[in-house]
Each structure stands twice: as C-alpha cells, then as structure tokens.
C-alpha cells in the first residue's frame, strides 16, 4: 500500500472531523470543564491547607498535580472526540461511504486513530496550558510551578488523553453505539476499578492497577509503586491498541 493512499485516508478523516461543528463544541466544552475543574481543585488545595507556614515547603501543591487530578473529569469530554469519529458514521450511515472509499478496514481505523490521537493530543496540550493558567493564581502562595515539571505534566496529560481518545475510538468501532461505548468506558475507567479498590484487598488492588484509567493515573502521577510510570503508560497504550484490534475485527467481520 502506497504512502499516499495512507495520507489520503488520514486527510479524509481530518476533513470529516473538522467539518462538523460538534468537534469544536466538544473542544470548547473540554476547555470549560478543565478550567472549572482545575479552579475548584486549586481552591480546595489552598483552603484545606493547615500548614501555617507556606515557606517551609510542606503543603505546597504543584500546578501539575492539580492538572492531573482535573483530567479525571475532563477526560470524559475529550474521549467523546474519539468516540464520535466512529459512532457518528454508524448512526448517519456514512460508514458505507467511508468503506467504499477505503475498503481496508484496518486502514480506515488507523487513519481515524491517527487523527483522533493527534487532535486529542493537541487539545490535551491546550487543556493542560489552560488548567495551569487557572490553577496557578488560585493556589497563590500554596502553589508552585517549576517550569520543566509543569511542561512535563502537560505533555503527560496530552499523551494520556490521546490514548484514551484512541481507546474510545476502538471500542466505538466494536460496539457501534455511542451510548453503549460510553457506558463501557465509564465502567472500565472508573466504576470497576473503584469497586475493586473499595475493600482494599491486596489481590483486588493489583487487578485494579491493570485497568487503563488506573494505569494511566500511575503514569501521570509519576508513581514508582506498584510499577514505574513507563509501565503505566505501556499498559494504557496496550488497552488502546487492543481496542483498535477489536474494532478492526468487528469492522472486518460484520456487514456494514
């Protein structure tokens, strides 16, 4: 397969995503949720602080950690971009046009993943920047924003959101319905791992650590336990890759 065909499929997917207004509304909604969430968490961080002396470094919160906590809510807006890129095709029937233009199911899904991943990554950078700008002044004397660390956190947030976006895309291709996909995502990212962690039993905690949201959380927080951050990133990437494979298998097997 020539590179130009591949580029063509990517260009087509970008045209489709950028030509519907819902894409831009979703991005705007993401910005608002991030700003609100970062602002609120920053207020909590500043108010909850019981340390009387901000100069002794205890109780000082980094802007990056506020960002990372804000992602927990914001991700549900951002993953809608990956989700809608495929489920809207099933709803409107344009999936048949798409497969007529590009009969290779793998190529279609890869092109969509490239576009959804790039868009959610870019949006993630923007969200990280906005979140930092909101959180910094609210934290005031209880906050710190070392430049290199903050930039690193913003890039990590963007990477996390891009992988979640691709995960949503792959699942959407397999499940076809937006509502069903969102339900499964909510369960996978939050409900199931939270339930597993609830009784605080070691073996259940370790199972929860494998779930994409938890793994991504360990990556974002830079945790060294239960595994290094890179393993958290790889686990999340593995989930995204597996979802794409599942989506491709469904597209190949089922009639459009």
């Amino acid at each position: 397969m020539s590179t130009s065909t591949r580029h063509g499929a990517v260009a087509a997917e970008w045209t489709k995503l950028s030509s519907v207004r819902s894409t831009w509304w979703t991005a705007l909604a993401g910005l608002l949720v991030m700003a609100a969430s970062a602002g609120q968490l920053a207020i909590y961080a500043a108010n909850d602080n019981t340390n009387d002396d901000p100069t002794d470094d205890r109780g000082i919160v980094t802007v990056g950690s506020v960002l990372i906590d804000s992602v927990e809510l914001t991700q549900y807006v951002v993953l809608a971009l990956g989700l809608l890129a495929i489920t809207a095709e099933f709803t409107s029937g344009t999936i048949r046009t798409t497969l007529q233009c590009t009969p290779s199911r793998g190529r279609v899904l890869l092109a969509k993943a490239a576009v959804a991943g790039a868009v959610t990554f870019a949006l993630g950078l923007l969200l990280g920047g906005v979140g930092a700008l909101v959180a910094r002044p609210v934290l005031g004397e209880w906050g710190s924003a070392p430049a290199a660390d903050t930039v690193g956190d913003i890039v990590a947030v963007a990477t996390y959101l891009a992988l979640i976006g691709v995960l949503a895309l792959g699942l959407g291709a397999a499940l076809r319905s937006a509502v069903l996909t969102l339900t499964v995502l909510l369960a996978t990212l939050m409900i199931v791992p939270l339930s597993l962690q609830e009784p605080d039993i070691d073996v259940l905690n370790r199972i929860a650590d494998v779930f994409p949201g938890v793994a991504g959380g360990h990556f974002l927080a830079g945790d060294t336990e239960p595994y290094p951050p890179l393993v958290g990133l790889l686990l999340l990437a593995g989930w995204a890759g597996a979802a794409l494979l599942l989506g491709r298998a469904a597209l190949r097997r089922r009639d459009a």
């Binding site: 087509a12 489709k16 030509s19 519907v20 344009t94 048949r96 046009t97 007529q100 233009c101 097997r253």
Partner: protein, 310 residues
Amino acid sequence: MITLRGLTKRFGSTVAVDALTVDIAPGRVTGFLGPNGAGKSTTMRMILGLDRPTAGQALVGGRAYRELRRPLHEVGALLDARAIHPARSGRAHLRAMAHSNGIPTRRVDEVLDTVGLDGRAAAKPGRTLSLGMGQRLGIAGALLGDPPVLMFDEPVNGLDPDGVRWVRQLMRSLADEGRTIFVSSHLMSEMQLTADQLVVIGRGRLLADEPIGEVIARSTVAVRVRSPHPDGLAALAARLTAAGASVEAADRNELTVTGATADQVGDLAHELGVRLHELSAHAASLEQAFMELTADSVEYAGGPTGGGAR
C-alpha cells in the same frame, strides 16, 4: 464489467441472494429489477464489499472490491442518498471522499456542477438537504473518480420530473461513453425508458437476464373483445377456452383473451355471428412482463408457510 458468480447471501435461515450468476457488460444501461426484498440492495452491497457473501463472489473489472487500492477510480456508487452526516456540508462530504482516493479537490466543484448543485446548496449541512438534493449529491460522489463502472440504487427516488429526465440522460450518456451502468429501480416504466438490458430477480434468484425488448416480446399479448351481446360473448368465450386460450371476463360486455391472436378471435366471432364493438391487441408493457416474471416468487412468499408477502 461486473461479474457475479454463484453470489449467495444468507441471513440466518433466510436466503437473501441465491446463487446469482450474471455478467453486467459495459457500454449499456443494465436495469436491476425485482420486487421489494428481492435482494437488489444486498447484491449491490456485496459488489461494494460492504456485505460479505455467504458463498460465491462479486468481481469488478475482475477483482474483488476489498482488494481495490483506489476504488473510486474503479467503481462509483450511489446507495443511500440519506447517508450523509447531519452536520456536514455536501462539499465537505465530497472533499473527504476525494482526499481518500487522491482525487484533486477541484474535481469536487466539477461534479457538483455536473449534478447541478450550486455553491449555496453544497454548503448546506446534510440534515437540511432534500431527498432530491441528496440524490444529486450521491450521484456527484459516484462520479468523483471518473470510474468505468457505476451503480445506482433507486437514483430517481425523490427527484422532480426535470431531475428524472436528467438522470435518464446522464445514465444514457455514461453508457454511451462505454461505461458499465447498473441501476436498480422499482419504477418499471423508468426501466423501459433507460435500460438496454434487464436483470430480474425474485426472492434472490435470477429470473431473467436479457435485452429489454425480449422481456417484453416474450410476455403475453392480450386481445380485448367488446360486444353488445353478452350471450354471444359467452359462446365466444366457451369456444376460445375449448381452443386452449385463456379468457377473462372484464364485465358482461368485455373479454380479455390471452393465448390467441386478434385474427383468430375475429374469425371465431364471425363464425359464431357475434357482433363486435372492439377487437384490439395490447402489447404487454414492461410492467406486465415484470409482474408475470415475478409472479411465482411473490406468490411463493405468500404461500401456506409464509406470513404474507414480504
């Protein structure tokens, strides 16, 4: 050239397309006819690689659709005019299609011009397009890659009379350029005006694949007889039935005879001394020919095991 070889599609225990073997040749308009649920759309979707055949194959230019690199240059198709994202403009819809197959974007304006959609119509979001405009947009998409094979599923649906005439001329001229045109329609009168060749299916099976003239010629010619004397007419009917013709009484003064020529009926009437007010032969229209061809498959659907016609 479209080649179907034993093409079969089953959905569970239902056979939608049953071992269809047909060649659809270039340079002419091939009409694809059949009652609702006969398997026309399923056949077209299998040709486009959208549905997987249960058995057999569908080839375009000798290759399976799923193997085509830039399929819009090989096959253009209009399947469903409503298949456009409600918020996406027609122009963006076509631009995305063009990108996917490396077609320059100026071609989008060319095909929009060909189908008669102006800039304002092409900028409107999909949800606001009328069915007719959707059909034109779908045809524009089919023409985008300038393909040698074109398929249209019910292309005149929702078009005004001008649009219908335009589609008819377009298909004619595309066929005259040597392209393969495969068009399905439930409008049999429309087929009579546009198609050169007819492929007729019923319940997924091939019923006919022949020039349109032969389909009509092969079907029965009916003779209408009117007389002011019901008794004489009854005697005539009895003689005709005895001679092997089939006779239907429209009312007391009129008969419709099949299986005998107007000459034979006239001679017989003269012999019996029945005064006639009308004796006329009626060539069957394509519509009648179609009804006759598909009668079995439709009847079968309403048979003792089925729950009525599908």
